[in-house]
């Protein structure tokens, strides 16, 4: 029914990680330039133009594609900087540009049609046939990264209603809010995913010890507290503990990450074209290990492997931190 093999799309925060991901079996890697045109604008990460060109040569040499994320929103009066990033990606031979801003989509559609594919970033939050159809008709978008709101059944229904490819996050960090629609970070810190390509930025983090233990704070707001000796986590805004309605709880989400490894067969049945691993901020050792595991799991699903086998292949990825299948299971809502 779905003869096409599902594509495994893997993160590449650095040239070394790109090579590691490709060698570990990635069908495609995604990366960004070293500035605020991409949503992982962290110090020490990302690519210069020559590094991207070299990365594309390396990936293409091994039959892998390179997708370039230009997925923040261009600032007023600076749109040309985002356009030039798209031009540079095309010049480097990128296979696709992942974008959300109309200014970027329009520029690529007008100037690079036929030379590069357009993928709609999850930051565009397009989750209905009407919205996706609009982007497809207007800009020739070929693939949409689906917002983390839909269950697997709903993704199946969506795929029946649209004629562009879909890409679903399968592993890694998990946004609890609809991506591209969240200003929590700029409310607290002045910097946000949409404008700066960062969320809960490290320079605003402090760990303060007092009589009750330790507080992990972001711009002075306590995001979580830990008893003496309890391991402290990173104060990501939506994964903190807060007091509401008379009780303290992880109101938005526990400090979990996404693992939808057990749903790979479900994604395939739902008509999903590509599975995406989050984590451009991760090191090459981690990325290589995760990619290898998911490579074998996807191959096993494609070969008709059963759930027990898939679980065994992904067992190492399920250890350590707490995980969730997120919105893919309806009860998450």
């Amino acid at each position: 029914m779905w003869p096409q093999r599902m594509e495994l799309v893997c993160p590449a925060g650095t040239p070394a990680t790109l090579r590691a991901a490709v060698q570990a079996g990635a069908d495609a890697v995604y990366c960004g330039f070293r500035d605020d045109t991409n949503a992982r604008n962290f110090p020490g990460l990302n690519f210069s133009v020559p590094e991207l060109a070299e990365g594309v040569r390396f990936a293409h040499g091994l039959g892998a594609k390179v997708l370039v994320a230009i997925n923040t929103f261009a600032r007023v009066g600076e749109v040309d900087r985002w356009r030039r990033a798209a031009d540079a990606a095309v010049e480097c031979g990128a296979d696709a540009i992942i974008a959300c801003d109309v200014a970027v989509l329009d520029h690529v559609a007008r100037n690079h049609s036929g030379r590069v594919r357009l993928h709609l970033s999850v930051q565009a939050a397009a989750g209905t046939p009407e919205a996706i159809g609009f982007y497809a008709r207007t800009f020739g978008v070929r693939r949409v990264v689906i917002p983390r709101v839909l269950s697997v059944q709903e993704i199946a229904a969506l795929n029946r209603a649209i004629d562009v490819e879909t890409e679903a996050f399968v592993f890694g960090g998990l946004c609890v809010m609809i991506e591209g629609r969240c200003y929590l970070s700029s409310y607290a810190t002045g910097r946000s995913p949409n404008l700066n390509g960062v969320c809960s930025p490290p320079e605003e983090v402090s760990y303060d010890e007092d009589a009750d233990g330790m507080a992990a704070r972001l711009s002075g707001f306590t995001i979580d507290r830990y008893r003496p000796g309890e391991p402290a986590g990173y104060p990501t805004l939506c994964k903190g503990r807060f007091a509401a309605g008379g009780k303290a709880s992880y109101l938005f989400e526990e400090p979990v990450s996404l693992n939808a490894g057990s749903l790979i067969a479900g994604f395939k049945a739902a008509g999903v074209t590509a599975l995406k691993i989050e984590g451009r901020q991760r090191g090459k050792g981690y990325v290589a290990e995760v990619v290898r595991a998911f490579r074998s799991a996807v191959d096993a699903v494609e070969a008709g492997g059963d759930a027990v086998e898939i679980d065994r292949l992904l067992a190492a990825q399920s250890e350590g931190g707490r995980q969730t299948a997120g919105a893919y299971r309806k009860t998450w809502r």
Partner: protein, 300 residues
């Protein structure tokens, strides 16, 4: 100087139909606003409760000379929600688009874009204007200067900064009211109805921080941007949006009207607002390109 206009944005909260009817009756009769948004934007599950009240509310507002805008959902998902958007987009009145879902249904006829739609630059603004956008209420994290940059570049569109109310900061597939009460969104029991301005979310150290409203997260603090009219004019901004709360919105509108007419100084306007029963302290950081919770005017 041409006059400034005032818009009353949609009610974000799950108010019973009777409360909505009373609220808009008073707005129609007493509030000095030019334009009034009606309709549910946050959660489609609430629509069966509020839908019956809108025809009378609209008639009343229009009889009072208000321009009525039909607001549409920010995160439509179900077939019923998508159909509601399609139906509203067929209306002859102005429609507020809060998700691209509505754009194909409305393209070619005039509309407003709400703060849930990502319009960050002059190219996006021109693109939407080409489809029919007449007024753009930009994302709340944009400063007045950034909005002015778009307004100067696109004089054919009117820009409407979000000036008063708890800031709409995020929207999710998950309902936090349901989660807090040990429920799921699909069987939520509408516990959000108990919190008519949203439910306060404090840090574990007792700092007021956020507020939840079903699938929506807002600021705990109330954004109260009270600029000099000349500062707005310098950025080619001619309209401000006020977001409804349970405090006296007629009084809020009166204060902003007086501010925009030059009858109140910004400091007097802020003082007037601070005396109302606001759900949180007043902030205005976003307007000044600072973190949203900062209060620049108070410090100045």
């Amino acid at each position: 100087m041409p006059p400034f206009a005032l818009t009353l944005g949609p009610v974000f909260f799950h108010w019973p139909a009777e409360r909505l009817a009373d609220f808009y009756r008073r707005i129609a009769d007493e509030a000095p606003v030019d334009r009034v948004h009606v309709g549910e934007v946050v959660c489609g599950k609430r629509m069966p409760f509020s839908d019956p009240c809108w025809p009378d509310v609209i008639e009343r507002l229009e009889r009072a000379g208000k321009e009525v805008v039909l607001s549409t959902l920010a995160a439509p998902a179900t077939v019923r929600e998508r159909r509601s958007i399609d139906e509203l987009c067929g209306d002859g009145r102005l429609v507020e688009i809060n998700d691209i879902t509505a754009l194909p249904a409305r393209s070619g006829r005039p509309f407003v874009t709400g703060p849930f739609l990502n319009v960050y630059n002059e190219v996006a603004a021109a693109f939407l204007a080409g489809h029919g956008a007449r007024t753009i209420c930009p994302p709340v994290e944009l400063s007045l200067t950034a909005i002015g940059g778009m307004a100067h570049a696109r004089p054919q569109v009117e820009f409407e900064p979000f000036a008063f109310g708890r800031l709409p900061l995020a929207i999710s597939g998950r309902c936090y009211h349901a989660r807090l009460h040990g429920l799921h969104k699909d069987s939520c029991q509408f516990t959000c109805e108990k919190d008519a301005d949203g439910l306060a979310v404090d840090t574990l150290d007792g700092q007021a921080f956020l507020a939840i409203n079903g699938v929506q997260t807002l600021s705990n603090q109330v954004h109260a941007f009270c600029p000099e009219p000349s500062a707005l004019a310098a950025q080619a901004v001619r309209r401000l949006r006020l977001s409804p709360h349970t405090c006296d919105m007629v009084e809020v509108a009166g204060i902003y009207r007086a501010l925009l007419d030059g009858r109140l100084e910004p400091q007097e306007a802020r003082h007037g607002l601070s005396r109302l029963d606001l759900p949180g302290t007043m902030v205005d950081g976003y307007a000044h390109a600072r973190p949203g919770w900062h209060s620049v005017a108070a410090a100045g």
